[in-house]
């Protein structure tokens, strides 16, 4: 091989990864890989710890989506201890998780992804970032910063700590919501819904049409999908059955407790991150761009693909428009951004629904809990995908075993495929520019929170 290119670190994503591309003597694509660089060892070091402490420990897996780990963990501990959260405790948890999604999608779209679309993929890297956006469009930037901050501070003020949360507790939630808090948050979430509707309109008019060619070609691969649906097959972020869909649109639904019957994790010698795959398809695992095996995708596009419909009216209208254009399941990788904005609308609508439910201010927020021997799987949809925490406890309620499948990892295989596809399509005759390398990174960025 005559040349190796290293894109390190991959930037404007959360976490540590790099891309390596090998070119042949003629300067054409030979192979590419995404390396996941770090291993912290959560599955080992939680052993022996009191299970009720885990929700406050495992949230440190991710500072962007700590609520997701916190709540998946709380659900798993509830199961281990055989406790059902009180109705108000359950609703407060879902409210926090839903509002956290609403914040996350604004952060991702405007702070991380938008520089590629608003400033442009070929722009100088020194301005192709959120600071560049602030200078190019100060009015929009101020509104983005203000709105995102308002959403974040809803979580911070009510739960008292939003990175890293402490408010979810086994059996429910640490404190009830007062009526004046409910009214304050409700008024704010209505404003955020307006901004979400503005954002998706803005993107549909000014962003997506300009990049339609890129959407149809960049990082495009054909895979299955995973996500969570409620009992009616509608999209859900917090609770329900897991739905695993093949590329042809056929699917199977299963209880999160049975995840190990359906999913496996493959190991490659060049990545600390493991590669989940659909073991239940009985075709093994292969990172072959043209004929992938066992590969499914998670995160926004996956969730709206597996769902029969969205559970709230405005999000459903957006989904119908999306499906009329791109079908089901839609495969184009850059459509993750579009799907993200549909989910943003859902998250705002759902938060408002929960806040309008009188149970939300009920003061019985925490059921009595006793440590127990047991096993429990807790699952929620994290921004990056289906998040699974699986614990076993001994008679004292201490953790004996933990297995985690983190949202990001479902997409490690697909990200590799998208990067291979993008590098193969974009690099010819040794021509490598910053713009080309950034486009290859964009194939990874689409999968970020």
């Amino acid at each position: 091989m005559s040349q190796a290119i290293t894109i390190q670190p991959i930037t404007r994503i959360e976490g540590h990864a790099s891309i390596k591309i090998w070119l042949d003597d003629a300067g054409n694509y030979q192979d590419a890989r995404v390396n996941y660089m770090s291993l912290r060892g959560f599955e080992k070091f939680v052993e022996g710890k009191p299970a009720e402490e885990l929700p406050d420990i495992v949230c440190r897996i991710c500072g962007i989506c700590p609520w997701m780990h916190h709540l998946a963990s709380n659900k798993a501990v509830d199961r281990c201890f055989g406790v059902t959260p009180t109705p108000a405790g359950h609703k407060l948890r879902e409210l926090m998780q839903t509002i956290a999604h609403a914040e996350d999608k604004l952060l991702h779209f405007y702070f991380l992804a938008a520089p590629d679309f608003v400033i442009g993929p070929d722009a100088d890297y020194a301005v192709r970032n959120v600071v560049g956006i602030a200078k190019a469009n100060p009015e929009l930037a101020t509104q983005v910063v203000k709105t995102r901050y308002m959403v974040k501070m809803i979580l911070d003020k009510f739960s008292r700590k939003t990175i890293h949360p402490i408010a979810g507790v086994p059996g429910g939630f640490c404190k009830p919501m007062l009526e004046e808090e409910r009214q304050d948050i409700l008024a704010k979430m209505r404003q955020v819904l307006d901004f979400a509707l503005f954002t998706i309109d803005f993107a549909k008019k000014n962003v997506f049409p300009k990049y339609l060619d890129a959407i149809k070609t960049l990082g495009v691969i054909t895979t299955g999908f995973i996500g969570t649906v409620d009992e009616n097959g509608a999209h859900n972020l917090y609770d329900g059955k897991i739905r695993l869909m093949k590329a042809d649109g056929s699917f199977v639904d299963f209880d999160a407790q049975d995840y190990a019957d359906y999913l496996g994790e493959h190991v490659e010698p060049w990545s600390y991150g493991k590669f989940p795959y659909a073991r239940t398809w009985n075709e093994g695992f292969a990172l072959d761009v043209d004929h992938p095996k066992g590969i499914y995708r998670a995160n926004t596009l996956a969730r709206i693909n597996v769902a029969d419909r969205m559970a709230t009216p405005r999000a459903q209208a957006e989904l119908e428009e999306f499906r009329a254009l791109f079908g089901r399941p839609a495969q184009a990788t850059l459509l993750y951004h579009y799907a993200r904005l549909i989910e943003e609308v859902y998250a705002c609508e759902r938060a408002i629904e929960i806040l309008e439910d009188p149970i939300i201010t009920d003061t019985n927020v925490r059921a009595k809990v006793e440590p127990n021997a047991g096993r429990g799987v807790g699952c929620v949809e994290a921004p990056r995908g289906t998040l699974i925490h699986d614990y076993s406890t001994d008679a004292n309620g201490l953790i004996t075993r933990a297995n985690l499948i983190v949202g990001t990892t479902h997409n490690l295989g697909p990200m590799n495929l998208s990067v291979k596809q993008a590098a193969r399509a974009l690099i010819h005759d040794g021509q490598v520019t910053e713009g080309i390398l950034n486009r290859i990174e964009m194939a990874v960025r689409a999968y970020d929170p």
């Binding site: 290119i5 894109i7 390190q8 670190p9 930037t11 404007r12 591309i21 660089m37 770090s38 291993l39 912290r40 060892g41 599955e43 080992k44 070091f45 009191p50 009720e52 402490e53 440190r60 991710c62 500072g63 962007i64 700590p66 702070f111 890297y125 192709r128 970032n129 959120v130 600071v131 101020t142 910063v145 203000k146 974040k152 008292r160 700590k161 990175i163 890293h164 402490i166 408010a167 640490c174 007062l178 496996g264 493959h266 190991v267 010698p269 060049w270 695992f285 003061t363 925490r366 809990v369 440590p371 699986d390 309620g397 201490l398 499948i405 490598v432 910053e434 390398l437 950034n438 990174e441």
Partner: protein, 313 residues
């Protein structure tokens, strides 16, 4: 030209970087006076040149370098050294950088034990060998930053409150001395303490503490430690509540877990807490997992693998 700022994350979760963004509109003010020359979370500056064709890792020069996360592998070490070389002032941002943080709980185990579990779970197809191509080898332990490079300013917190990050950056821009909290969480806690006495055991956090009504002010609620909950307030540095001061967890009626690390930089949260409990006549055997008292500060060789594991690894 403003103050040049570079930022890096090592064995971390990105929570500290999100806390920077959580300055809200103040972030726009900071951007007026600071040039951010390197921050992987937000800016596309690369280690091996923008075309990825350089042989050596190279970062831009900066006045201030913010580093979050501890040092867990050889890449972290290389980046930490390069940051030290290129930045005039190094700030250890967050408790992972100052004391190891939650990931330093791994210091109770050898790298071999960690790899064995990570690549040996029930759903994992067991590999013939652990990953080693193009991934940085793990170091023996998770180290705090000052075990590997010189640190000029410590900003603990998991994450540090946005007020603290903002105040630090403003002080640096204005060339003024930085005031960091020196009190304990207890010193800034408004709950009611009645003094020594009746408590013999600590209990696990399985029920809510006692208080009269959902809107009862904190200064009418009994101290959570005096209610028997293991609250790390006495041995944890204050400041998690930012300029608002009130400790965050306490105000959610949840005991402090110690996330800002020890009150003095070189303190030991485990020993200090056991001393505090024992001197108040509380049976320390009632604590279910003592190493967990070092959950935020297991670096600096405070948490170690069992001796037989160290020998066999």
């Amino acid at each position: 030209m403003g103050v040049r700022v570079a930022s890096e994350w090592l064995n971390s979760c990105s929570g500290c970087e999100i806390s920077i963004i959580d300055m809200g509109e103040r972030l726009l003010d900071v951007l007026q006076v600071a040039d951010i020359v390197h921050i992987p979370a937000l800016v596309d500056s690369k280690y091996f040149g923008q075309l990825g064709d350089q042989k050596h890792l190279c970062l831009p020069e900066a006045d201030v370098g913010l580093i979050s996360g501890g040092v867990r592998n050889e890449e972290h070490l290389e980046v930490a050294h390069e940051m030290r070389k290129k930045c005039k002032i190094i700030i250890a941002l967050g408790t992972c950088a100052t004391h190891g943080g939650i990931p330093s709980l791994a210091n109770s185990y050898t790298p071999g034990q960690i790899l064995e579990r990570a690549f040996g779970t029930e759903t994992t197809d067991k590999p013939e060998a652990y990953p080693s191509e193009g991934v940085p080898p793990m170091l023996e332990a998770c180290y705090a930053l000052d075990e590997k490079i010189k640190v000029d300013i410590y900003l603990p917190g998991c994450p540090p409150h946005p007020d603290q990050v903002f105040n630090a950056l403003v002080a640096l821009v204005q060339g003024k001395p930085l005031s960091v909290p020196t009190k304990s969480v207890c010193d800034t806690c408004p709950t009611v303490r009645k003094g020594k006495g009746e408590l013999k055991q600590v209990r696990r956090f399985l029920q809510a503490p006692q208080y009269q009504a959902p809107d009862e002010p904190l200064n009418q609620m009994r101290c959570l430690l005096e209610q028997g909950l293991l609250c790390m307030g006495p041995v944890t540095r204050a400041g998690c509540g930012g300029d608002g001061v009130t400790p965050r967890c306490i105000s959610a009626r949840v005991p402090c877990r110690g996330c800002s690390g020890p009150v003095r930089h070189e303190g030991n949260q485990l020993l200090d807490m056991l001393n505090a409990l024992a001197s108040n006549g509380i049976d320390i055997k009632s604590i279910p997992n003592r190493p967990l008292l070092l959950r935020f500060s297991g670096a600096h060789s405070l948490l170690k693998p069992a001796i037989h594991e160290r020998r066999s690894s």
